[in-house]
């Protein structure tokens, strides 16, 4: 109820009618799994360095049509981010202007639900670009992987500690690493997590 109100409000603020499709209800059978790499953890001042995304249809990741882009940041890249992502200044010197990347990204995603690991963070980062460019936040439905995992992994008590680190999830689900950490590889691995979790039953409580 609240979300539909919010959505209507958002749509009202859209300043480019070309993107009104983002607000259509989605009726297909695909989702987009995405991952971003950023200069830091604060959507207000940090920037996106790269975006990797893949469509998932049924039990298949459409890898060949993957979306992969590098963005040219305005500010400096923090030491910390260099450490986490292994991206250096020189790596993104041939990055594109966000004005060129974001419209392509929106066309790729369309109104599909978006899946990711701590996806709300990626959504906020992306929204700070879309707000500037088309007046609205990214309105797509979000599916949170750590939550999907938690619902299926929790066995006994709702208070039990569940380790939700990305690598732990990969390991517990016995999924292989495909290449090094980068936005697209992490998106593909997130998609594998999503596909595997979809085939597993949710924990419904000890007495259900």
């Amino acid at each position: 109820m609240i979300s539909s109100f919010r959505k209507a409000w958002q749509k009202h603020r859209l300043n480019d009618p070309k993107y009104s499709y983002l607000f259509e209800p989605y009726e297909g059978d695909e989702v987009v799994v995405l991952d971003t790499e950023t200069t830091g953890m604060d959507p207000k001042k940090d920037e996106i360095l790269s975006i990797g995304a893949v469509k998932v249809r049924g039990n298949r990741i459409l890898f060949g049509e993957a979306f992969e882009a590098w963005l040219k940041p305005r500010g400096e890249i923090s030491e910390e981010s260099i450490k986490i992502h292994g991206i250096r200044r020189m790596d993104i010197e041939h990055g594109e202007e966000p004005e060129a990347v974001i419209p392509r990204f929106l066309d790729f995603v369309g109104n599909r639900p978006i899946v990711g690991y701590y996806i709300r963070f990626d959504q906020r980062m992306l929204s700070s670009y879309t707000r500037r460019m088309i007046g609205v936040e990214l309105p797509n439905e979000l599916i949170e992987l750590s939550e999907m995992y938690y619902r299926r992994h929790r066995k006994s008590s709702p208070h039990e500690f569940v380790d939700l680190k990305f690598d732990t999830i990969m390991e517990n689900l016995d999924l292989p690493r495909l290449g090094k950490h980068d936005a697209l590889n992490d998106a593909v691995m997130s998609a594998l997590i999503y596909l595997k979790l979809k085939t597993m039953p949710e924990y419904k409580g000890a007495f259900s």
Binding site: R60, G64, E68, D174, L175, L178, L184
Partner: protein, 608 residues
């Protein structure tokens, strides 16, 4: 970049490494990654298959109509090109461990197939060629050294070099002194000619021989030459192409030697003909021993050159038989030799024992001759064989054991007993005797026994036959588990899993159809000739048997190198991906052969 990671993964899998960079780049844009939980059916028998799968992780079992496992795919395996090309699939594919796979749609696969010859060749090859291809690739990676041997390293002879004016008689005398069968004539400006023994013979027979005239006028010019630093292989090609028997060897244009065809061949076989010559010339047991011990070097060399296991086995059993025969002559007085026949049995009888793992031998004695006479001779023979490196048979199936040293009549009685009151031991005795080959003495004695043995098999022996055949199925053949065990060390007894089932099944068919050939390969060929086995399947079975023998030989040589006993264990960690594919394909054929044997002898109707 991620696309590069996927590209690198694909490139690590044969035949994707055959694709050009451009094709790989395009392929990556068509790639899908799929996940299937265990239990998923990818397709059913007779169903359609519209994608090509490459396993990233997980396991897929392939089942036939009866739900028997035909093969198993694991990491880096791919399937199923045949089904994709034919548009129909004969098997049932079931995911047995959660599967993550790359998938390529039919159209993209077809494109790779159309545009890359290496890729196409790989999939169009039938299994026989595939095994060959895999073996060849393995060789290439190890670079067979016979391709790189230089003339300098081979055995050429110093030339019998004379001037144009030398009288024939004097030149001939010199060549005889040097032990040469040709005279080389030095012409003007570094040109050379040749007068071979055969030329002299021809002139003699035509009455044209004039011993006092100069050789220059009789010589053939020019003598074909090869540079001392050229590849021996090129010298060989020249000999074949020009159809000549000799080449001059030159060092910076100057003649330094003569290279004969036989020299090249013996280099490639690494003394193998020299060894047989040595064996025949051996005067004492000590000399014979020396000659015989050289066999392992030959085996190593031939194995490294990638010669098929059956040819290595053939060569080695020739050598072994010569050793046995020579030893027999040295030990037994002449008058005793025709009163008996010395047999080698089992794998040695079939000519399939490459590494000496045991000596199974026996002596048949003519009826009426006292067997006791042969006791000391047989003791001496057996001791000598042990010194030659044939370990004694742990089951005492040897001429020193009175059981295996009897008269024709007494052997006939044993054959009756084996057949009429069968037990585990008599099945074994029967089997190894069935494969017996006479190597010295009076061969007719063995022929008489073999005829007797076959004559004992008629319609009343169905039950014996059925139990004999059933030994084929005694050991499990692990189809599939060998595919891609990158992280786990597995081992398999390749004799039990692969070699024995083929030997026993083929032996059973040989018994039923009275085939007298001894080697498994010859028996299979004969079965194909009589249309008992389909020609194409016979070929596959021979190659599979050969591949298994080749893999076993590799493991045995490695064991010997490391100072261990040569056994039949194959460890996955010792195998390359190519060898694992070879093993998998071969075991799959063995499994199909077992199926054939079961149906052919209706073993499923037999009480167990």
């Amino acid at each position: 970049m991620s696309f590069n990671d996927q590209k690198a993964f694909l490139q690590s899998i044969h035949p994707f490494d055959e694709l050009s960079d451009a094709l790989l780049d395009e392929l990556v844009t068509k790639l899908e990654i799929a996940f299937y939980p265990a239990g998923t059916s990818l397709t059913v028998c007779g169903g359609e298959i519209d994608r090509f799968y490459i396993v990233i992780k997980g396991e897929v079992k392939v089942l036939d109509e009866t739900d028997a496992v035909v093969r198993i795919y694991r990491e880096k395996d791919s399937f199923d090109a045949d089904a994709l090309l034919e548009g129909r699939c004969d098997w049932h594919y079931v995911v047995s461990e959660d599967l993550i796979s790359y998938e390529i749609d039919r159209k993209s696969f077809q494109k790779l197939f159309d545009e890359s010859e290496g890729f196409r060749r790989f999939f169009l090859m039938d299994i026989v060629e595939r095994i060959e291809h895999l073996k060849k690739r393995e060789l290439d990676s190890g670079m067979g050294d016979w391709m790189t041997a230089k003339v300098r390293e081979s055995y050429w002879h110093p030339p019998c070099l004379v001037t144009m004016e030398t009288p024939l008689l004097e030149a001939a005398r010199r060549s005889v002194e040097m032990g040469r069968s040709e005279i080389i004539v030095e012409g003007e400006e570094g040109s050379y000619g040749i007068v071979a023994d055969s030329d002299i013979k021809r002139m003699l027979s035509q009455g044209r021989l004039q011993p006092e005239s100069s050789v220059g006028g009789m010589a053939h010019f020019p003598l074909l030459t090869v540079d001392i630093d050229d590849f021996l292989f090129n010298a060989y090609l020249t000999l074949i192409r020009e159809n000549v028997k000799r080449l001059g060897v030159t060092d910076r244009g100057r003649l330094v030697g003569v290279l004969e065809q036989i020299d090249i061949l013996s280099y490639f076989a690494n003394h193998s003909h020299l060894i047989t010559v040595k064996i025949e010339r051996a005067r004492t047991i000590e000399e014979l021993k020396e000659a015989s011990l050289g066999y392992l070097t030959i085996v190593r060399r031939l194995y490294a050159q990638g010669l098929k296991a059956r040819y290595i086995a053939k060569l080695i059993s020739e050598v072994n038989r010569k050793v046995f025969a020579r030893l027999f002559e040295m030990i037994l007085p002449e008058e005793r030799r025709e009163e008996c026949a010395l047999l080698v049995m089992g794998s040695e009888g079939r000519g399939e024992q490459i590494i000496r793992t045991d000596q199974d031998n026996a002596l048949i004695i003519r009826n009426g001759v006292d067997p006791e006479i042969f006791v000391p001779y047989m003791e001496e023979l057996s001791t000598a064989l042990q010194e030659f490196g044939y370990p004694p048979c742990p089951g005492k199936i040897m001429v020193t054991n009175p059981y295996w040293r009897r008269s024709v009549q007494s052997f006939k009685e044993e054959i009756d007993r084996w057949i009429d009151s069968p037990d585990e031991e008599s099945f074994m005795y029967f089997s190894i005797f069935f494969d017996a080959k006479d190597v010295a003495g009076e061969g007719a004695l063995l022929r008489e026994l073999k005829e007797y043995l076959f004559s004992r098999f008629d319609d009343h022996n169905d039950i014996y036959m059925a139990f004999f055949v059933r030994l084929t199925l005694l050991f499990e053949t692990p189809v599939g588990i060998w595919n891609s065990l990158l992280h786990r060390d597995r081992h398999v007894d390749i004799k039990k899993a692969g070699i024995f089932p083929v030997v026993q099944g083929v032996r059973s068919l040989a018994l039923k159809y009275r085939i007298e050939e001894l080697s498994t390969v010859e028996r299979i060929k004969e079965l194909a000739k009589r249309e008992i086995l389909r020609e194409s399947f016979a070929r596959e079975l021979i190659e599979a048997f050969d591949a298994l023998s080749y893999l076993r030989l590799g493991a045995q040589l490695k064991a010997l190198e490391e100072g261990r006993d040569a056994d039949n264990m194959i460890h996955s960690k010792d195998l390359s991906k190519i060898q694992r594919d070879l093993l998998r394909d071969s075991l799959e054929i063995v499994e199909r052969f077992k199926g054939f044997i079961t149906r052919h002898f209706e073993l499923d109707r037999l009480p167990s």
